[in-house]
């Protein structure tokens, strides 16, 4: 047991100093009746505050106050495949990002190994290129890290550092073609308005290959679910890399640099590494494997209408419903097991709202006898990759996609 709990004591940046006693009392009063969520993790700390204090965000699980880590509450995933913007998860590396963004003076630079350096206004982006829409899941590489066995350091996300949106914007290919990528260019590096806090600390930057950048799917989004992006999700522009982990989805994107040599910055060359092993999994303490960057999402599926400990009728049909995504491709099938993975029954898939987005599924099942039962759900993607049934583990807790289990009681 922990001897203390995180008491967020949220303040507002730049406002607190000028406030009187009455104001302070008002700000802190919601904390007195703090709503919490239990993430059911052995060893703890298991509870987190629910916060509604962040601008443009609704009820979120407060994983870290600053820089914000705000997790989507799991019940949101039962409501549909598109996560509401106000509950789309939030994750920043550095606390130093602006809360004040003027759409008239904002510029996106395209520079480096290009024939013509560009400085694009938001009007240029909104009016100067063909528009594209794509549904895609934004999932943190560390989603579900809190359930690693043994536990590892890092953001202690439960299953809610993933969110799906319909992104609208312009194709990165079109923007790069406007600038003209020079022969010999190999990578494209992306940076946003966030800056590191300590002198000499690495600015957050990520790179992808020129071929990936020009594949026609990678885009610069100015809208999600039909509205401009919330500040904390990267207003005014965000890179969308469908099928790849959220770390590549650079927020407040204002700099695109075409490189003719491999990017050696920390975040691309050193951070976000997983073992180059099947399912990126190793045994704790194992050594002698190569490390590679996290890149693609892996298939996942979740039951969203039944929770651990729920009661289900014995001997009569019940409904299981949930979401799945294929990772770096679409969902081929979702199967449910009511006997802990010994046998599987296919689920009916909901409408396909986009290859890289969430797909709803549902199926009826009948538990034969009273007592404890284990439900498991497994997604197989269109590349015929299925979720594994062994517990994936790696030292940084990345890319977990083991099949999920839900323990129920038939009564």
């Amino acid at each position: 047991m922990q001897k203390y709990e995180a008491q967020p004591g949220l303040t507002r940046r730049g406002v607190i100093r000028g406030m009187g006693v009455a104001g302070l009392a008002l700000m802190s009063s919601p904390a007195l009746a703090q709503e919490t969520v239990d993430l059911h993790v052995p060893g703890g700390p298991s509870t987190r505050p629910i916060t509604t204090s962040y601008p443009q965000k609704g009820r979120m699980i407060l994983q870290r106050s600053s820089p914000p880590w705000l997790e989507t509450p799991f019940e949101v995933f039962d409501k549909g495949v598109f996560t509401p913007n106000e509950q789309h998860y939030v994750s920043w590396h550095w606390a130093n990002f602006p809360g004040d963004i003027d759409v008239d003076s904002f510029r996106l630079a395209v520079r480096g190994q290009v024939n013509q350096t560009l400085s694009l206004s938001l009007n240029d982006i909104l009016r100067g290129f063909p528009r594209a829409d794509i549904a895609a899941v934004n999932q943190c590489a560390g989603n579900s890290r809190i359930y690693a066995e043994p536990r590892v350091a890092g953001a202690q996300w439960a299953n809610g550092s993933m969110s799906n949106a319909l992104w609208t914007g312009v194709r990165l290919k079109d923007v790069l073609d406007r600038a003209g990528v020079k022969p010999g260019a190999i990578q494209v590096r992306f940076g946003g308005l966030d800056e590191s806090v300590m002198p000499g600390a690495p600015k957050f930057l990520k790179s992808i290959t020129v071929d990936h950048a020009r594949d026609g799917a990678v885009m610069i989004a100015f809208a999600m679910n039909g509205e401009q992006l919330p500040l904390l999700n990267g207003f005014p522009l965000r890179l969308i890399v469908p099928g790849w982990c959220g770390v590549y989805w650079v927020k407040m994107l204002n700099d695109i640099e075409v490189l003719n040599q491999p990017d050696i910055n920390y975040w691309t060359a050193t951070g976000y590494r997983v073992p180059d092993t099947p399912h990126n999994s190793v045994k704790p303490g194992e050594t002698g494997y190569k490390m590679v960057p996290v890149t693609r999402n892996a298939p996942r599926s979740f039951i969203t209408n039944i929770r651990n400990g729920d009661s289900v009728p014995a001997g009569s049909p019940a409904l299981a419903r949930g979401i799945a995504f294929g990772g770096d491709c679409g969902v081929a099938r979702v199967d449910l097991s009511i006997d802990g993975g010994k046998s599987w029954q296919p689920a009916k898939l909901g409408a396909d709202q986009g290859t890289y987005g969430f797909r709803q599924w549902q199926t009826q099942f009948t538990l034969p006898a009273r007592g404890a039962h284990r439900l498991t759900v497994r997604c197989t993607n269109t590349k015929n990759v299925a979720q594994p049934d062994f517990r994936i583990w790696n030292p940084a807790g990345y890319l977990f996609n083991t099949i999920e289990t839900t323990d129920v009681v038939a009564a």
């Binding site: 940046r13 700390p45 600053s66 319909l166 809208a223 401009q228 500040l231 904390l232």
Partner: protein, 108 residues
């Protein structure tokens, strides 16, 4: 907590839709928002070093929400903050921070 799944026996999939009218977005609206921070401190004896060195980059809940870890694991975390993220922590303070973490969030 027990919930009764019988009440969820509605067969139709939940209707999914987005209220999107992206085609009609022609202009973005400037934002001027305050993002909350936290003034929470690390509690208890021996917390001076961690309070003085760590809160410039991240709030205390970042650490308080971590699992219990071994001394080796906590040493690696503090080393990473110094080496990779350039936290200007003196060797004496680094030791005091690791000691605090092991005492309050250690595995033994």
């Amino acid at each position: 907590m027990q919930r009764d799944v019988l009440t969820v026996a509605v067969l139709g999939l939940v209707l999914v839709s987005h209220s999107g009218h992206a085609e009609t977005i022609t202009k973005l609206k400037s934002l001027k928002l305050d993002v909350p921070t936290s003034d929470a401190m690390f509690p208890g004896p021996g917390s001076d070093a961690i309070n003085n060195n760590c809160l410039a980059c991240h709030s205390a809940d970042h650490v308080l929400n971590q699992p219990s870890l071994s001394r080796t694991a906590w040493q690696e975390v503090v080393d990473k903050m110094i080496r990779a993220y350039k936290a200007p922590v003196s060797p004496d303070d680094a030791k005091a921070i690791v000691d605090y973490l092991v005492r309050t969030k250690g595995t033994s």
